[in-house]
């Protein structure tokens, strides 16, 4: 009986092992003195890690992908200095439902910290960890579908960022260290899900942030040391304005006038809660 069970177990295991064919793919480009790079990353499904790479390489991507459903994309345009990296569906695409351990499409994208970067991320059903600290991000566009995304500025952005535009569908999005992003403007548009906007960081410049949430929970982590002003347009949303002073249609921190760095937050929410956590 035990032998039968063992044989049966081995057969089941063999079936699982053969259920998915993963294929490794690698691409990179040497840095030949380029000063800027437009990087577009389109990643349909799986796990994605984006981080700063080596200065002598413009970019590098290492992939392990399901060759039955996806094809790798890596295309650099010499004229525009833009690269398209990622995975696109091969015909039917979709997510293969086998087991959690087998949904293991993995991608690691490393971008040069030596060039000015215009970054455009389009993510599908993706578990993404994006580390932008230490890069030179000029522009950031992030579109996510049903994903879980953590975007971090662990170190200050090496250059001034004009705009960070993030749009999320049914997603769990955490934007960490926005105070290091040095973005003049941050636009966040969320459908439904849970969103964390963490404004920790060095705050070397002021910033204007516009947040539009349809449904879901929004958590704002705000530093006390900067001048804060929140303008709200809400329908069925709750908001706890502890520590803020109401002035006209806005909530303002007591030090708003005296601060050299300002965060102007424009919130539009339909349904859901807005939580405020203070960073000391």
């Amino acid at each position: 009986m035990r032998r039968s069970i063992a044989v049966l177990g081995m057969m089941l295991w063999a079936g699982l092992v053969q259920a998915q064919t993963m294929r490794p793919f690698e691409t990179f480009r040497q840095n030949h003195g380029e000063t800027r790079l437009g990087a577009r990353v389109e990643y349909a499904a799986g796990n994605l890690r984006l981080l700063p790479g080596q200065a002598d390489e413009l970019y590098r991507m290492e992939l392990s992908y399901d060759e039955d459903r996806y094809v790798p994309v890596s295309d650099f345009n010499n004229q525009t200095g833009a690269v398209l990296l990622g995975l696109k569906p091969a015909g039917q695409g979709g997510v293969r439902v086998v087991s959690r351990s087998q949904l293991s499409q993995q991608a690691t994208v490393a971008l040069s910290p030596a060039v000015d970067l215009s970054l455009d991320l389009t993510l599908g059903a993706v578990n993404a960890d994006v580390e932008l600290g230490g890069l030179r991000v000029n522009n950031l566009h992030l579109r996510t579908g049903a994903s879980r995304t953590i975007l971090r500025f662990s170190q200050p952005n090496a250059v001034r960022c004009e705009l960070a535009a993030i749009s999320a569908g049914a997603a769990e999005v955490s934007l960490m260290g926005l105070g290091n992003s040095r973005c003049d403007e941050v636009e966040f548009e969320g459908g439904m899900g849970r969103v964390l906007l963490d404004f920790a960081g060095q705050w070397t410049s002021s910033s204007r942030v516009e947040v539009k949430m349809a449904m879901g929970e929004l958590t704002l982590r705000l530093p006390r040391r900067i001048g804060l002003r929140i303008t709200m347009d809400r329908f069925l949303s709750s908001f706890e304005a502890a520590g803020l002073i109401r002035r006209d249609n806005a909530f303002q921190s007591p030090n708003y006038q005296s601060s050299t760095r300002h965060l102007d937050l424009d919130l539009t929410t339909a349904m859901g809660g807005v939580n405020v956590e203070w960073l000391d």
């Binding site: 057969m11 294929r23 490794p24 793919f25 690698e26 040497q30 890596s74 295309d75």
Partner: protein, 426 residues
Amino acid sequence: MSAYKRLLGILALLTLAGGHPLRAEIPVDGITSRAADLVDHMLGLITGFTQPERRHQPQSQVRPQEIATGGTTVDLSNLSQPTLIEDRLGSALNQSSGQLRITIPGGGARRGDFSLGSSETRSGHLLVLDGTADIYGHLTGNLVTIRGDVVVHPGGVVGGDVLTLGGRVRDEGGEIGGEVRTLRSTTLLSPATRPEPAPLSAWQSVLRRTAGVLGVFLALTLLGFGLVMFGRQNLEIVSDTVSHSFGRAFVTGLLGQILLLPTFGMLVVGLILSVAGILLLPFAIAVFALLVVIGVVGGYLAVAHAMGETYTRRRMAMGTLVGSPNSYRYLLVGLVALSSLWVAWALFGWVPIAGSIVWGAAFFASWLLGTAGFGAALLSRAGIKENFAGRLLPPEALTDEYLWATPQFGVPAGRKPGTRTPSRGL
């Protein structure tokens, strides 16, 4: 003793045949292939190699040579879609019979190791097949290697992109002007290096199929035991329906198979037309598929149960002492009986013609009994209705004592000479 000798004889025959490749091979069906692959892998582990590994070993012994132009044209000017290039190269290599010919517009192709000297400049794109490309000099175009590495040495320059299919790129201080792409594995093989698929030996063939049959047997046994444990009443009613109304069950099963698709179509159309039913469509499809699977598998298990019960009761009638005549035993005996033809196929399927005949017989018998089982499941509404189960007597009379040796309603047990034992369709 004679059986033992016969077995030894068969084993000796198999051993003799085992060393020779079998050309008249019956393809292994999908059900057994996974288990068979597992057996292959295990054999590979024991013998120290597996076929896939052997297939992907680099061919370093290939004599370096220029590949003649002609044959299929493959454009290497755009390597941004490596899998597309791989497909094109694959079709080009597959079309080459005999001498390999390939045309690279604005470039050339080579086979075997290739080295570009430090004082050399080569213009155009380059394809290197089955060898390493060592770049010391200047290559102006794109470089593609199949089953070989690219090494760019200090001072070496590749002006365009680099793509390796089944190899690696080693940048040892050279310059690569374009993009580097690496697909570390490839299924591409040049015609000369493409190995003949190794024919299976008789032993391998027997092992593969036996593993497959054993796997199916175990799966059905486990399912059957689960069914006995949780749905014994239903299983027995379906089983009795098979026993007592075999012909009717078979015809019903046949009709059921024919009407399966139309019924499914009507269900889908009906739900779509009823507008509100559209919401139920995915659920209904899943339930329908589940019911069909339950009907077929459950019916097949009921047939096994009926066969096992009949056999066991016959043995008991002949005075053999049977340890525990219960549904578990019936099912196991029945499944062994049903598997016997497939076991015969597993053992002798490699024999030309006879193997095909055994396979056909096993398939036909399985289909016949599966159809009867499916029909019995339909007739008895999955073991809810006893109309065709031959249970005309009240349940309290359906004891083993009654069924076997006792005439109806309490007359003392005893087999009178000349009287017929109630047979339950034996």
